[in-house]
């Protein structure tokens, strides 16, 4: 009787242990996940291969892009989050292909594809080692995703075990949502100028 009980108990224990091991085993996605390098808006964040710094963050209901006298309007059902920053390669010529906005609840928003013609837009900007370039990023987000969000920047979305910057907005959250922001080509210095209207 007692021995049968003991066998049953041992069986249950074995099942529980197997279950715990199965649940706690990291998946392929976790094993090959990018290595996070943490930073905040307003500081230079370094990885082995590149450095990136977010300088200013803007929120707007609409974005206008001025180029060669024509104005294109970009609307959104949420808000536009626009980040101005600078990036520099350290070891070799590269392009930072991947940028995502991770909301506080873990939902990931891809970089908007709609500004790929604006000069200085991050995934189109070629970075030469040692030559910092001003870069522009734009995300289309629901308003609730801005708070507690982090900016994730990496060389590529699919490179396993590469370094990925995780830049917290912190207390640099813009205080107001501007009705409209205009991005236009500038004559010298930065490739664009940003004006709230």
């Amino acid at each position: 009787m007692i021995s049968a009980l003991r066998t049953l108990l041992l069986c249950a224990l074995a099942i529980a242990m197997l279950y715990a091991m199965r649940e706690s085993m990291p998946g392929y996605g976790d094993i090959t996940a990018p290595i996070a390098v943490r930073g905040a808006v307003g500081e230079r964040v370094e990885t082995q291969d590149f450095a990136f710094g977010a300088a200013s963050v803007h929120l707007a209901r609409a974005v206008k892009v001025e180029s060669f006298g024509r104005v294109k309007d970009y609307s959104t059902s949420g808000v536009w989050l626009i980040i101005e920053g600078a990036a520099v390669a350290k070891t070799e010529t590269m392009t930072l292909m991947s940028a995502e906005w991770q909301a506080g609840n873990g939902v990931r928003y891809a970089l908007s594809q709609r500004f790929s013609t604006v000069s200085g837009y991050l995934p189109t900007e070629r970075l030469e080692p040692g030559l910092p370039r001003p870069v522009l990023l734009a995300f289309e987000l629901p308003e609730t995703a801005v708070d507690k969000g982090t900016l994730l920047v990496a060389r590529s979305l699919v490179m396993p075990l590469a370094e990925e910057l995780s830049i917290a907005l912190g207390d640099r959250k813009p205080t107001e949502i501007k009705p409209s922001v205009t991005i236009s080509r500038s004559a010298g210095g930065a490739p664009w100028t940003l004006a709230a209207r």
Partner: protein, 199 residues
């Protein structure tokens, strides 16, 4: 002690028998259920326009379809062309922005599939759509270039594909989305081009 040993052997035999029968039964049930599922496919529901299909990852509503001689951008193509425009609404319910919907909505037709894949435009500002963000339902216009040698359709059947999320796939154990057949077929009438097609 021969008596003791015989009882031990008998017990072992019993254990082997029970596990053997249990295992066989499990395999047989699993095989039979697979055969049964293959023999009796669940009918894909056919719904009308304006009804929302919940495919798991996406919520899709097909609102309307019409033919036109201009794409949504409003600029008439150089050579006269015909376009099939489908108004739809998409809601991404997954954790990340995605453009997977572009492969999930296809025209169900006896004829050869329409070759160029549809171009998706945002209904609100008529720009070409890319990935759709979670928690941001979006109204889109899917545009198929209608072949010149085919008569204009009066009705249209759209097949809405489904995807399943596997936290660990069979090959690497990596999390990903995989195709999972059809969620629904949407049948609707196609309104003809309002404006005369000649220049």
């Amino acid at each position: 002690m021969p008596v003791m040993r015989r009882s031990k052997i008998r017990r072992r035999l019993l254990v082997m028998l029970v596990t053997g029968i249990g295992g066989m039964a499990a395999a047989a049930i699993s095989f039979a259920s697979a055969v049964y599922d293959a023999a009796n496919p669940v009918a894909v529901p056919t719904i009308g326009k304006g009804q929302t299909v919940d495919t798991g990852r996406w919520r899709v509503t097909i609102n309307d379809a019409h033919m036109s001689s201009t794409p949504p951008t409003g600029t008439k193509p150089f050579e006269p062309k015909r376009f099939l425009l489908v108004d739809l609404e998409l809601d991404n319910r997954s954790m990340a922005s995605s453009n997977a919907f572009m492969n999930l909505i296809t025209i169900k037709d006896e004829g050869a599939p329409l070759q160029p894949k549809p171009t998706y435009y945002l209904a609100r500002d008529k720009w070409i759509a890319s990935a759709i963000n979670p928690n941001m339902p979006e109204k889109l216009i899917a545009v198929w270039e209608w072949p010149a040698d085919r008569p204009e359709p009066e009705t249209l059947s759209l097949s809405i594909g489904k995807q399943i999320y596997k936290p660990r796939d069979n090959l690497y154990g990596a999390p990903n989305w995989f195709g999972d057949g059809e969620a629904a077929v949407v049948a609707l009438a196609v309104a003809q081009a309002a404006e005369p097609t000649e220049q």
